[in-house]
Amino acid sequence: MTDLLKLTAKDFKSDQEVRWCPGCGDYAILAAVQGFLPELGIARENIVFVSGIGCSSRFPYYLNTYGMHSIHGRAPAIATGLASSRPDLSVWVITGDGDALSIGGNHLIHALRRNVNLKILLFNNRIYGLTKGQYSPTSEPGKITKSTPMGSLDEPFRPLSLALGAEAGFVARTIDSDRKHLTSVLRAAAEHQGTALVEIYQNCNIFNDGAFEVLKDPETRDSALLRLEHGQPYTVNGEEHVHDVTDPDPTRAFALSRLSEPTPIGVLRAVERPSYDRQLNAQLEQAVTERGEGDLGALLSGSDTWMVR
């Protein structure tokens, strides 16, 4: 057994060469996750990272845990099967704006409403990187890209609004470059029992450089960001509120999720309800309590048999 207390970031680095573009925001997120995992106190072998397709979805290869790099958009579905049948594991989903919100939109919303014990990290760079620069479901309207030379016509999703609409219990937002904040949000997500969705603003310096610059630049960020802390007051449109992540009514969280100036970061909502996997496994136990362990011979015979001699 690994000595959990002695694990460090190094223990979570795999032997694979990291192959993102130099300067990509994914590096910072990887470093933050590798730095954070030891504090979970969970053995490497009990952690699984499942991803879809896209730049961010290469993530599992670089972590020395169990991992699966699956197919486009399907990671939440695959992780649902894993987490439901193995409640002993800590299961994380790595996805991007195209992977989670376009091709995999259906799986994302259903994972959230079902509340499977998954931690979903959605790297939002507002562009398709791996396919070389088409607009994504979070790209701003009018965006000029390779597939939209005259500007995109789509209204973008607000991922956190979508998640709240899909009955998500935990939604949060953070930024690739702010390691301390990113780590604090990961910690909160990990502590949440049930599905947690963390949107991470991530810079794609090749195809959409500077998308979040105003939130990062020391000159502008203080006025551009709204840092949410549970129990602390914040002011929007001159109105002061005390932030309560446990508010069962999602109205305030939803209002925050639609706000862009300033842009809220931190945990918007953390309301627990019984998770799907726990309830499913409780049903299995209940069935055994009520009817005893399954008896295959009795099952096959049924109640209506006859003998041929």
């Binding site: 699966m68 193995r86 049903q283 399954g294 048999t305 041929v308």
Partner: protein
């Protein structure tokens, strides 16, 4: 001898009544009955009950439920007709029967929809109450066929089923409308009298089915008894029939009646028990596969997890995720669902994880004929993925065999770490037959060994997820939670052995060929040929649910003096190793299929044989007589 068989009649000692010696009893060796009515008339339930009693009595039997895709098509219309055909005999039989000897028609639509299938002299029991002007005009009959000579070739028993049922229930508190609903039980009672079926099972069944509504339960029992007594007392039924138990058709053992979908669900549970792995079903509702989901969801005390997913893709995705975690992952669907699952099946091929993919085929393309049968997904299963993505295929030949083949699919999946197709179809799924309940000691040992130790040949202490078993070419299955074996797998090509991402051309070529070699090398039993004369020139080769009709057709051809060999494939990928040699032994090969010749195409490509197709895609199974004719034609060539 079946032990449940008592003196016919003795089962009636208490209720519904004593059989009168005045009426004649005729012995028959086999009977085909078809119950037909409106979708809302409860014909499937009626057929099921008659089947249960018949199975318990010890006849051999085969059933063919046939119902519309609409849950309640407009009442009294031709598209709304639902029917259930049952063939039972005192000897072993292979099909639900080509044509009914007896038709029970609950309304004009049921009569009209089924009349063309009736041979001359067939008996027709009609519910005259439904033959109103309005009902007749709904199906385009200007005159009443009951008295305009339309039915003169048949033996017609006009029965006022509805009136008699309501009359029988007048002492109960039931409203007329509710009382009328029990008319199917009246019909069942009458048929039970006609064919000397035991009755107590149906009464027990009704009481437990309506346990929460005792007045409805009693009303149904009353109607059922009234139907029986009606047969006994009325003049219009002068004779009843006995069909002796099929003592010689069965090898000794304990028997029950079972449908294909039920057998399949039980086979999956058995595979879970025999492998020691918990069963995880990821599925999305689809006809005609949903009953497997329903059945498995009832058995949580076997550690069975069922997950009704948001779509077909998530169903298989979750099953694959569970397989990664060490479960026996299964997904169940029909053809349209397979189309959606293709990409994930490809991922499973690449990940080399065990997965059972069940396709209950139905009429296609697209939505096609949801409730009808077809076997046109063979090439989809064989080739329907991007890239070279070989997947083993097994196919049961009868409802009961769905049990065995579920275990076989699991065996291949677990041994070779691969997705496996099980191709059943609507005919097997809903049809039923007597099934010998296996002893647990007869079931295969499916235990698997998970990897527990690092295996790198370089002694580095690393774990290589793609270091293969030299015999099976299977890779190790290391499940999360195993310390020291942390590894990553994915759909990108990987280096054989280490499993690291690799775009190396030579490695890709090697991996493609290795995955193919793994599937080609799967050990499957040799094909056995039934060739009693030993010198047949003609081989009839089939696969899947056509077994019964083909065997029945071959039997008839042989009875007429034809020399015919028959063989049936249960493994379609890989084919049995001796298939080429078997094909080479016969001058002519005839391949009947419910598609446009998919197996024939594979045989021609693989073995360069002049396999001749006989095909039908009507949504209905072949008939024995039809195949007998085709076989004798082929013999004459």
């Amino acid at each position: 001898m079946t032990s449940r068989v008592e003196e016919p009649g003795s089962t009636f000692d208490e209720s519904p009544g004593q059989r009168s010696p005045a009426k004649g009893v005729r012995r028959l060796d086999r009977v085909v009955i078809r119950f037909a009515g409106d979708s809302g008339d409860g014909m499937q339930l009626t057929g099921d009950r008659f089947t249960s009693e018949t199975a318990g009595f010890g006849n051999d039997l085969s059933t063919l439920p046939n119902f519309p895709a609409e849950i309640r098509a407009p009442a009294g219309t031709l598209p709304g007709v639902s029917s259930f055909q049952l063939h039972f005999a005192d000897h072993d039989i292979l099909t639900p029967g080509d044509a009914p000897d007896v038709l029970v028609a609950m309304n004009p639509a049921a009569l009209k929809a089924n009349l063309a299938d009736l041979p001359r002299g067939a008996e027709i029991i009609v519910n005259t109450d439904e033959f109103t002007k309005r009902a007749l005009s709904k199906v385009g009959w200007q005159a009443d066929p009951l008295d305009d000579g339309t039915l003169q070739e048949y033996r017609v028993h006009p029965v006022a089923l509805t009136t008699l049922t309501v009359e029988a229930l007048k002492e109960t508190s039931l409203a007329r409308k509710d009382a009328e609903r029990a008319k199917n039980m009246f019909a069942l009672g009458l048929l039970s009298w006609m064919y000397h079926r035991p009755t107590e099972g149906t009464e027990t069944f009704l009481r437990s089915k309506f346990a929460k509504k005792p007045d409805i339960a009693e009303a149904n029992v009353l109607a059922f008894r009234a139907g029986w007594n009606y047969g006994e007392t009325t003049e219009s039924f002068a004779v009843s029939y006995e069909v002796a138990p099929a003592a010689k058709a069965f090898t000794p053992g304990r028997y029950r009646n079972i449908s294909g979908n039920l057998a399949l669900a039980y086979g999956l549970i058995a595979a879970s028990k025999q492998s020691g792995l918990s069963l995880f079903l990821g599925s999305y509702p689809i006809t005609p596969a949903s009953d497997i989901l329903h059945e498995l969801s009832k058995h949580k005390n076997f550690g069975v997890r069922t997950f009704q997913a948001e779509d077909e893709i998530a169903g298989i995705g979750a099953a694959l995720g569970a397989a990664f975690g060490g479960a026996l992952g299964v997904t169940t669907t029909s053809g349209p669902g397979i189309a959606l699952k293709s990409e994930t099946i490809g991922l499973a091929v690449s990940l080399e994880l065990p997965l059972v993919v069940v396709d209950i085929q139905r009429g296609g393309p697209s939505t096609g004929l949801p409730t009808k049968t077809e076997q046109a997904d063979l090439l989809q299963a064989m080739f329907g993925r991007n890239g070279e993505a070989p997947v083993p295929i097994v196919a049961p030949a009868s409802p009961g065999e769905c049990f065995t083949m579920a275990l076989e699919a699991a065996r291949i999946a677990l041994t070779y770490r691969t997705p496996v197709f099980l191709l059943s179809d609507g005919y097997l799924a809903n049809g039923s037959e007597p099934w010998r309940v296996p002893e647990l000691s007869e079931l295969p040992d499916l235990r698997v060994e998970f990897a527990t130790e690092p295996n790198a040949p370089d002694g580095s202490g690393d774990f290589w997820p793609y270091l293969r078993d030299p015999e099976t070419l299977a890779r190790p299955w290391a499940v999360p939670g195993t310390p020291g074996l942390e590894h990553r797998v994915g759909g990108i090509e990987k280096q054989d052995g280490t499993g690291n991402i690799s775009y190396d051309p030579a490695n890709h070529d090697h991996m493609v060929r290795t995955r193919q070699a793994k599937i080609d090398g799967i050990a499957v039993p040799d094909l056995t040929v039934d060739d009693p004369s030993g010198d047949a020139d003609l081989l009839v080769l089939g696969w899947g649910s056509t077994f019964g009709p083909i065997a029945a057709g071959v039997r008839r051809a042989r009875a007429a003096g034809g020399k015919v060999a028959q063989a049936h494939l249960r493994h379609l990928n890989p084919f049995p190793a001796n298939l080429g040699e078997v094909l080479g032994r016969y001058e002519r090969v005839l391949v009947p299929e419910m598609n446009l010749g998919q197996l024939a195409m594979l045989l021609r490509a693989r073995y360069l044989v002049d396999a001749r197709s006989f095909t039908q895609v009507s949504g209905m199974p072949f008939k024995a007589a039809q195949l007998a004719a085709v076989i004798s034609e082929a013999l004459d060539d």
